[in-house]
């Protein structure tokens, strides 16, 4: 688990504070807002660092161990820093049947890293994820939490990388 390398104090920015306040009244307990709050922090900081967890724990009055227990359970709540573009390729059966392994191999070649690694310039992290619910348009990848890139071909992948560079 990493600590953030910025020395700024961790806190929701104005927009996220507004969204945080907006969602609280919809839950009967503060603890229930934990994952939504972690999502806001994830968007803002790119990953869920130790400081982020301590901040959210304090805002929601939830024990620190519980926040860590939750963050370590869910795949999306990365506790290690990721590159600016987190490229997540679906590896599950339907996509694999349509060439997901080739997609991964191509990305590894073009980015010069293996699955699970980040490029030295901190721009790209490459991950394999499980079924993204896009099986009919596979193979598929997702950059951060944006719209899926579907019906991938090697050319499309190159175009995506070029766009992101």
């Amino acid at each position: 688990m990493e600590t953030s390398d910025k020395h700024e104090k961790i806190a929701f920015n104005e927009e996220n504070e507004r969204r945080f306040q907006k969602l609280l009244p919809h839950y009967p307990t503060r603890e229930a807002a934990l994952i939504p709050a972690l999502h806001l922090a994830l968007e803002q900081y790119g990953y869920v660092s130790r400081e982020v967890m301590a901040y959210v724990a304090e805002r929601l009055d939830v024990p620190l161990s519980k926040v860590l227990g939750v963050a370590s359970f869910y795949t999306m709540l990365n506790m290690d820093p990721v590159g600016r573009y987190h490229i997540q390729v679906c590896r599950t059966l339907s996509c694999a049947l349509r060439g997901a392994e080739d997609v991964v191999a191509h990305l590894e070649k073009r980015l010069g890293i293996k699955v699970g690694e980040t490029t030295p310039d901190g721009k790209f992290t490459l991950s394999e994820v499980e079924c993204l619910a896009s099986c009919g348009s596979g193979p598929v990848l997702q950059v951060n939490n944006e719209e899926y890139e579907e019906n991938l071909t090697l050319e499309k992948i190159d175009a995506i990388l070029d766009r992101l560079q």
Binding site: A32, A33, M76
Partner: protein, 423 residues
């Protein structure tokens, strides 16, 4: 398919996710919800859904109206309605499109369901990866609030309904209703012991009904057109239409609305244009990866309804049809799935936690030609110890592919043993 206009009908109308478009040009335009909430009794709504025979579309196929009836009449705490939009079953992608293309019909269905349950609070649990769907749905909810269809005193009545999107964060096990409830409470998504059942003690200790997205989206049609119209398609025990998601080695993968009971052969060869590249069919998983695999011969003679698929040794499940042609290495395919279940097991129960990983390790050895005599029997024995012995059905879901692949494609596994032992 032209004839079936209950679930997909708004998908071809541009910007149907905009409430203005939905109200002017789409079924049901919130008029059905209005009629139900202003003029019907909650119990009557449940009765209609019961009569219509709608069954849960997430995978379990439990009769929806019956489930609603499990909420105790004298419950002390108010009921929660939760829309299970955690679509994670491999091969399934229908709920995602409902949310992206037609969120208002889903919301309208939820309003009717919540009204039947007299639930003041509803959550839509959308898996975290579906960022676009979550944004579209929340925007649609905001529009519904503005129009007075959500919030205090909806449609001018004294029934109030609060609704919010609650995003998941990447865990297949949260598609299990009690795992989902744990997650909504802000905890690790661990499924819970039953009893108590969620309808009695669910989220925050209150009665909770968890319904799949497609199930809820099916509601407006039933209330608008009635039981007979709903039962016009489908079979006696599996009435209505369903969204089938076809993927893998077909020419035209995608989402198709079909009546239950539709012949699987027709789906593959007519609707989906046959096997890609004109190749031969080898195997089909008919209901999401947790359903036992069918051989080509079995697939071509069965029908897409709950009963028929059970008869042929599989299940309708989520209706996620995964098609494999004759280029498919079944050992490789199984390894793909065992990895999935090992990754997604929550880790609570001994058999599932240890069994999913053990099976993944053994199947990987098969794929790497390092399997030995007795490994098939070992896998089958592990399957036996994992079946019906856990808190939730993920363990059984992990077992079905292993058992069915080993049974129906055993030669491929035996070949790997021979390769491994130099035979």
């Amino acid at each position: 398919m032209e004839g079936y206009r209950r679930l997909k009908h708004n998908w071809t109308i541009p910007r149907a996710w905009d409430i203005e478009v939905y109200r002017k040009r789409c079924k049901f335009g919130y008029e059905t919800a209005r009629k139900v909430v202003t003029a019907m009794e909650p119990a009557a709504v449940t009765e209609i859904v019961k009569q219509a025979g709608l069954r849960g579309r997430g995978g379990a196929g439990f009769p929806t109206g019956v489930k609603w009836g499990f909420v105790p009449k004298d419950a002390e705490k108010p009921t929660y309605l939760i829309n299970n939009a955690d679509e994670g079953e491999p091969g399934t992608f229908k709920d995602r499109y409902i949310m992206e293309l037609d969120p208002h019909q889903m919301i309208e269905g939820m309003i009717i369901a919540a009204f039947a349950l007299q639930a003041p609070q509803a959550y839509i649990y959308i898996r975290g990866e579906l960022g676009l769907a979550a944004r579209r749905v929340q925007a649609a909810i905001d529009q519904a609030y503005e129009a007075g269809f959500l919030g205090k005193g909806i449609f001018g009545t004294d029934y109030s309904l609060d609704m919010i999107v609650h995003r998941g964060a990447g865990a297949y096990v949260c598609g299990e209703e009690t795992g989902l409830i744990s997650s909504v409470e802000g905890k690790r998504g661990n499924p819970r012991l039953k009893p108590p059942f969620p309808a009695v003690v669910g989220a925050f200790g209150a009665p909770t009904i968890v319904n799949n997205t497609e199930t809820l989206t099916s509601i407006p049609f039933i209330l608008e057109h009635g039981v007979e119209a709903y039962r016009e398609h489908g079979t006696e025990k599996s009435p209505g239409t369903k969204l089938f998601t076809v993927s893998g080695h077909v020419e035209k993968p995608g989402v198709y609305e079909l009546p239950l009971g539709f012949p699987l052969k027709e789906l593959l060869y007519d609707v989906c244009g046959g096997i890609r590249g004109g190749r031969k069919l080898k195997a089909v998983i008919p209901g999401g990866s947790s359903a036992p695999v069918l051989t080509a011969e079995e697939a071509e003679r069965t029908h897409l309804d709950y009963e028929s698929l059970m008869e042929v040794g599989s299940m309708l499940g989520s209706g996620g049809v995964i098609v494999m042609d004759d280029t498919t290495d079944m050992v490789w395919a199984l390894k793909n799935l065992t990895h999935f279940y090992a990754h997604e097991s929550c880790g609570q129960c001994t058999p599932c936690r240890e069994g999913t990983r053990w099976m993944d390790d053994i199947v990987r050895r098969f794929h790497e030609n390092r399997a030995a005599e007795g490994d098939i029997e070992r896998l089958l024995d592990i399957c036996d110890s994992m079946s019906g012995t856990t808190i939730c059905a993920l363990s059984d879901a992990a077992v079905f592919p292993v058992k069915s692949f080993l049974t129906k494609f055993r030669e491929e596994f035996e070949q790997r043993i021979q390769r491994g032992t130099g035979g």
